[in-house]
């Protein structure tokens, strides 16, 4: 299955991912353009999360090749994995915030890890927290926040390092409609600012509102695009 775009920032060539005898992804070929907002959909277990994990080398492919912003993931040495990951901002369904760090510290961590100058970090953190409306809660600890608020912090963290690509794995999965709408509006904001956004979701409401490309996975295979 092939879908080709110009100025691709991500390219997958005949990618397979197997866990023992079970095939999680089979022969996936896909190109994602720079500054595209792409939805990846499919039922639970279709391979959406696996696809995203392969992109940031959360796992290695079993077969095939992936290129991300010119980096061939099959040939990337271990020492360069952090460089690859800094191209991404990742939003997880379960937020993955560090409960012992404040909202501010959680967001600042990305910038510290990237070796940004300490003098620029506070300004940047405040700026992204302001976008997601969490600036006034920056001294709070994640367990004291609602699910929607935690996901907003996760969005801020994903965007803090000005990544080229934002991966969102079921970002609205555990949120009510209003909170889900807010998260998508923030993702839209970062998309408008130039980021490539890939959202893995099976949220039908979210897909209904999507006016961009949607690719569907079924049993690890990419389905052909629906006729226009």
């Amino acid at each position: 299955m092939t879908d080709t775009r110009d100025e691709a920032i991500i390219r997958l060539f005949h990618v397979h991912k197997r866990y023992g005898a079970k095939a999680a992804l089979q022969d996936v070929t896909l190109e994602i353009a720079k500054n595209e907002l792409l939805f990846v959909t499919g039922r639970s277990g279709a391979g959406k999360t696996t696809l995203l994990r392969l992109l940031y080398l959360g796992e290695a492919v079993s077969e095939g090749q992936i290129l991300v912003d010119g980096m061939n993931l099959s040939r990337i040495p271990r020492a360069r994995v952090p460089t690859l990951r800094r191209k991404f901002g990742i939003i997880f369904q379960d937020y993955k915030l560090i409960p012992t760090k404040t909202v501010y510290e959680n967001v600042a961590l990305v910038l510290e890890a990237a070796g940004r100058k300490p003098s620029v970090i506070p300004k940047k953190v405040r700026s992204v927290l302001r976008i997601v409306g969490m600036e006034d809660r920056m001294n709070a600890f994640p367990p004291s926040l609602s699910g929607g608020e935690q996901q907003r912090v996760a969005v801020a963290r994903a965007a803090a390092g000005d990544p080229k690509i934002i991966l969102a794995d079921e970002p609205t999965g555990s949120l009510d409609e209003e909170a889900a709408g807010l998260i998508m509006s923030y993702l839209d904001t970062f998309h408008t600012r130039g980021a490539t956004i890939i959202v893995a979701t099976h949220d039908k409401e979210l897909l209904k509102r999507a006016d961009t490309r949607v690719v569907q996975l079924r049993d690890g295979r990419l389905l052909p695009p629906a006729p226009v």
């Binding site: 952090p82 990951r85 800094r86 991404f88 990305v110 510290e112 990237a114």
Partner: protein, 291 residues
């Protein structure tokens, strides 16, 4: 580096209990190992002091002519390691014996002739007072034509050296054991911290943190724990030493010998060693954890 240090301090503060347990355990290990080391240092001091007083007695064959005696003296003085060779006549030897026998010196009055041989008392150079050098020198001197016998308390020196060597060997073994124990303790503490924070570390890696960014605060943490533990261990040993020397000071100290604590530089070296051991413990844990 400042940021790494601050993160290490924050981690220590967040894991106070675990850190305290580690520091105390390291302190106990260091205290025991340092107590042994202190014993060896002082035992070495005794041996050294004793060796400084070592003299070699070279007894001459009977009826050696004046010329042969002069010749023997010249030969003795030319041997490497001999600092001084002093002639002791039979008469002087008898006078010495009389002095040593004190109230029983009347026994010597009945002697028909002086049975004591002429001898040379040899003072040795400082670097030739160990057991091996003494034996070598004694054999060389014994081969001289006019020499009947050579004595230097070889049996005692041999025994004492053997005991000190045995203790030194035991000391190295104990030191090695405690070194490994300390590495193991710090490694396990860091492992517990890593386990407690595995999710946080995973998140750090996902957001693009390098291994260095993750490792360095843990290395610092290990070094701080090792350093603090060593300071505490040495401090406790010093307190024990001060208490003992104050309580039993007079019987323990003689004019020739005083029990000493480690010099400041050695203490600094031990603390530095503790920090290295702490770093090693962290390194071992992180190597396994961040595979």
């Amino acid at each position: 580096m400042k940021r790494f240090f601050l993160r290490a301090l924050k981690d220590i503060r967040d894991n106070r209990f675990l850190t305290a347990i580690t520091v105390i355990t390291v302190a106990l290990s260091i205290m025991i190992a340092a107590a042994f080391a202190l014993f060896f240092v002082n035992a070495g001091g005794i041996l050294n002091m004793w060796q400084q007083g070592i003299r070699m007695m070279v007894y001459l064959t009977p009826q050696v002519s004046e010329a042969a005696r002069q010749d023997t003296m010249a030969q003795l003085q030319s041997i490497a390691g001999v600092q001084e060779a002093r002639y002791i006549s039979s008469e002087e030897a008898l006078e010495r014996l009389r002095g040593q026998m004190q109230h029983h010196d009347a026994l010597l009055d009945n002697l028909r002739r002086n049975p004591l041989p002429e001898a040379f008392e040899i003072t040795l150079q400082a670097d030739r007072r160990d057991s091996t050098s003494l034996q070598f020198l004694a054999e060389r001197i014994a081969n001289l034509e006019t020499v009947a016998d050579v004595e230097y308390g070889q049996e005692w020196i041999g025994r004492f050296t053997a005991i000190v060597n045995l203790f030194s060997l035991a000391g190295y073994a104990i030191g090695g054991l405690f070194f490994m124990a300390t590495v193991f303790i710090v490694a396990n503490t860091i492992r517990l911290v890593l386990y407690a924070r595995r999710e946080e570390i995973e998140i750090m890696r996902l957001v693009g943190a390098t291994d260095r960014f993750i490792r360095v605060p843990f290395y610092l943490q290990g070094m701080i724990q090792g350093g603090l533990g060593t300071l505490l261990g040495l401090g406790s040993l010093l307190l024990g030493y001060l208490y003992l020397t104050r309580q039993f000071g007079d019987p323990m100290a003689t004019e020739m010998f005083t029990i000493r604590f480690f010099p400041v530089l050695t203490c600094a070296g031990i603390v530095l060693g503790g920090m290295v051991v702490g770093w090693l413990g962290s390194w071992v844990s992180l190597k396994q954890f961040l595979k």
